[in-house]
Amino acid sequence: MRDFPLFPDQASTFATQVDQLYFFLVALSLIFAGVLPFVILYLIVRYHRSQKVDRSNPVNSNLKLELTWTIIPLILVMLVFFWGAFLYVQIRTPPMRTLDVYVIGKQWMWHVQHPNGKRENNELHVPIGQPVKLIMTSQDVIHSFYIPAFRVKQDVLPGRYTVMWFQATKPGEYHLFCAEYCGTEHSLMIGRVVALPLADYERWLATPGPVILPDGSIDTGRPTVVASPGDPMAAAGAQLFTNLGCAGCHAMAGGGVGPSLKGLYGATEKLNDGSTVTADENYLRESILNPTAKIVAGYAPVMPSYQGQISEDQLNQLIAYIKSLADTGN
């Protein structure tokens, strides 16, 4: 039956939960779609005009009946709504400690970078038993990152980050699809997700490989990933942070022209218009590309925009670096 499956693999913690709800819905549907046609069939045969049956005193309305078939379906749909809602909130809320992987979608390929700097195209290696968070953006149009076996899907938008998380449960290779129509080769924007036991995953991570850049070219100039990675994505970000001159204003010790970025990620920032904002990836992104949009209280809107000067790839590295500054506090 391998060549003619009727039901998808269950390979994440969500898969079984979503399927339970799905089967409940199927069962409910069978009560209606399975019984109602037989009721109709019975009625159209029994009351066919050729049948001599009692047709006296036909009824045209009955409030009790109307209320019954209003209230019972209402209760049932509310039940599935709340069941689905709790599961949805869980699927959309990543846990605190996750393995962060950066994904860039572009016409028509997926580019993935792991925190240690390892890159891959149209493939995603993940460990099983560990929550993995994908931080995704697009270089052009809207794409959608879809792993059917994990029952997760999230649109990937240009100009912002979207986040998706899952925890794989079963080693294996699974389909990766782009689910949002994105142009000519939409149906070729596919790949595979490889779920590995943790030890294998770590071995894979440490295996040197070519550095594939988001444009698909292979950068031979840079060193390949070394056997014991420090945190090369953050390290690359730190390098950029210096090269772009960010450190001139954002002094780590504080007291610079710009606020210190130490411990920033995940913190709540007070803005000069009195509102507050949580410093997540989208806030960091906006503050780099469009710095005057949200000004931290007590600072002047003097930072220049880096729109167009750094690639999505570099932006990810900068953000990985800023996030690593928060980790040191813990």
Partner: protein, 552 residues
């Protein structure tokens, strides 16, 4: 009681002597019935065109490789199918053809309130269609009928502007028809025809018209802004220009979800007429069916976000949209239960329109229930943008709207043409369509849950068996659509003369001759009873008069 010849004068006949005069008398007509016929011809033309594009898509999908056409051609084929079927067939189908013909007849009026506006609607429809056709001929468009930005506004290299112009112009046709219906239903009902004596088809078209007037302008604006961004680079949707790509989806679905109800509400109105007539009984729960149409129209405006659960819309917004979506299920369920209850103690005949009505209920139940799957946020994450969605909306659109459209065409065919179609062929075609439809679309639910994304030109080989089944079903479905064209065409010359009321139905449209005279009624009818006023013993009498050999 069958008359032997068609009435001496009717809306179809005129005293033009030359072909040009005759052509003018049709193209410049302000008679709602003639305009309905113009719509019937043009809409069916577009239906065949959309069907042709669907054929290309289904044939390509027989194999997992892209061997019949390139991906660019494939993308243009499914976009053409979507654009034509949604904007130029489904949305105008029942209101513009059956609504145009029947609204004045059913309420005892001479015509719609604004006959010239009505003709203008048809011309706008044709001009819009012309733009869409020109766009298709000169290279096509590859954005999908949804025109998602920034793909449509910046990246696509196809005739986006031309197609959008077509949809934009067609939108005005839709608005004007809605406006015309609302004014007509408010102001031109025959004396005694109170709101609660109106046929449910009128209620359904009234609810539809409200949606057409309120939602279509939003689509117009959304599409116009795509053109503005595309032509002049004004940043509205593309983040590279400072725009917001999600804004388009909000605006688009604010129209396009209610648009689904533009398609299904009139269909529900038709079904109410058919079930009542062929059960020889007043419809069960008249008020509940009428108000459920209004409830669907109102709630339909508040659920657009359920198309966007994975778009990065906030979790809380998603939950609210999901909640309201669940509520839409209730009025839909109420209608289905009331139709079923109407059958009880009726005298049921299996005439072709009734077969379509029963088929409608079966398919609509499946379409509606799978709509709940999609409305439940957690399940939608998995199945949205897969074949599950494709199957679901075809069950509602094709299984719903087209079944009702065909049922309505058969039911009112004797009124429109004065002649009967061949009942045997009618039943056969209805059966073929029902079977072919289920074979085409049921496998797609399974495909969708397996994870097969929609709009895929090539696909993993394990999905092939289900795709082949679907294509096989589609070829049966295609036969089912062609057969009626033939026997309906033949009936125009050879059909038995129908007489004023071949079905023994209630309703003012059956009180005038078939086909009706230009001004519908000799004198304005006065209404003294409710709709579907079958006397309590009507069903009993009908059954008692049945003899072996009478029509089933």
């Amino acid at each position: 009681m069958a008359t032997l010849s068609l009435p001496q004068s009717s809306y179809i006949r005129d005293n033009s002597r030359t072909f040009t005069e005759w052509l003018k008398s049709w193209l410049l007509t302000v008679d709602h019935k003639r305009i309905a016929i113009l719509y019937l011809l043009s809409i069916n033309f577009f239906f065949l065109l959309g069907g042709l594009a669907a054929t290309l898509v289904r044939v390509e999908l027989i194999t997992p490789q892209g061997d019949l056409m390139s991906s660019d051609v494939y993308n243009r084929a499914f976009t053409l199918h979507g654009v034509i079927m949604v904007f130029f067939f489904l949305i105008p189908s029942i209101p513009a053809v059956l609504g145009n013909f029947l609204v004045p007849l059913m309420i005892g009026a001479r015509d719609l309130a604004f006959p010239r506006l009505n003709l203008l609607s048809w011309y706008l429809y044709m001009i819009g269609g012309l733009f869409a056709l020109i766009a298709a001929v000169f290279g096509g468009v590859d954005t999908g009928w949804t025109f998602y930005t920034p793909f449509s506004s910046t990246y696509s290299n196809s005739n986006v502007v031309m197609t959008i112009t077509g949809a934009f112009i067609m939108g005005f046709s839709s608005i004007l028809t809605g406006l015309n219906f609302i004014v007509t239903i408010h102001k031109m009902r025959a004396p005694g025809l109170t709101w609660f004596r109106l046929p449910l088809f009128i209620w359904a078209n009234y609810a539809t018209s409200i949606i057409q007037i309120l939602a279509t302008p939003v689509l117009g604006i959304a599409l116009l802004l795509v053109v503005v961004e595309r032509l002049w680079g004004v940043g509205i949707y593309d983040p590279a220009l400072g725009g917001d790509p999600l804004l388009f989806q909000h605006l688009f679905w604010f129209y396009s979800h209610p648009a689904v109800y533009i398609m299904i509400l009139p269909a529900m109105g038709v079904i109410s007429e058919l079930i009542s007539t062929f059960s020889r009984k007043r419809i069960f729960g008249y008020e509940f069916i009428a108000f459920s149409s209004i409830a669907i129209a109102i709630l339909g405006f508040l659920v657009w976000g359920h198309h966007m659960f994975v778009s990065s819309q906030s979790v809380y917004a998603g939950l609210i949209f999901s909640f309201i979506t669940m509520l839409v299920a209730i009025p839909s369920a109420i209608k289905v239960f009331n139709w079923t209850a109407t059958l009880y103690k009726g005298s049921i005949s299996y005439r072709t329109p009734m077969l379509y009505a029963l088929g409608f209920i079966g398919l609509f139940v499946i379409g509606g229930l799978t709509g709940i799957f999609l409305g439940v946020t957690a399940v939608d994450l998995h199945v949205t943008d897969t074949y599950f969605v494709v199957a679901h909306f075809h069950y509602v659109m094709v299984g719903g709207t087209i079944m009702a459209y065909l049922g309505g065409i058969h039911f009112w065919w004797p009124k429109m043409t004065g002649r009967m179609y061949n009942e045997t062929w009618g039943s056969i075609a209805a059966l073929i369509i029902f079977v072919g439809f289920n074979m085409t679309f049921f496998p797609q639910f399974i495909l969708g849950y397996l994870g097969m994304p929609r709009r895929y030109h090539v696909y993993p080989p394990e999905f092939q068996v289900l795709h082949v089944m679907s294509t096989a079903g589609a070829s049966i479905l295609a036969i089912g659509f062609i057969v009626p064209l033939i026997y309906l065409g033949i009936s125009l010359r050879k059909g038995r003369i129908a007489g004023d009321n071949p079905w023994g139905a209630t309703g003012l449209e059956w009180k005038t001759s078939s086909p009706p005279p230009t001004y519908n009624f000799d004198k304005t009818p006065i209404v003294t009873e409710e709709a579907y006023a079958y006397p309590p013993e009507a069903a009993e009498r009908d059954a008692a008069s049945w003899r072996p050999g009478s029509p089933l």
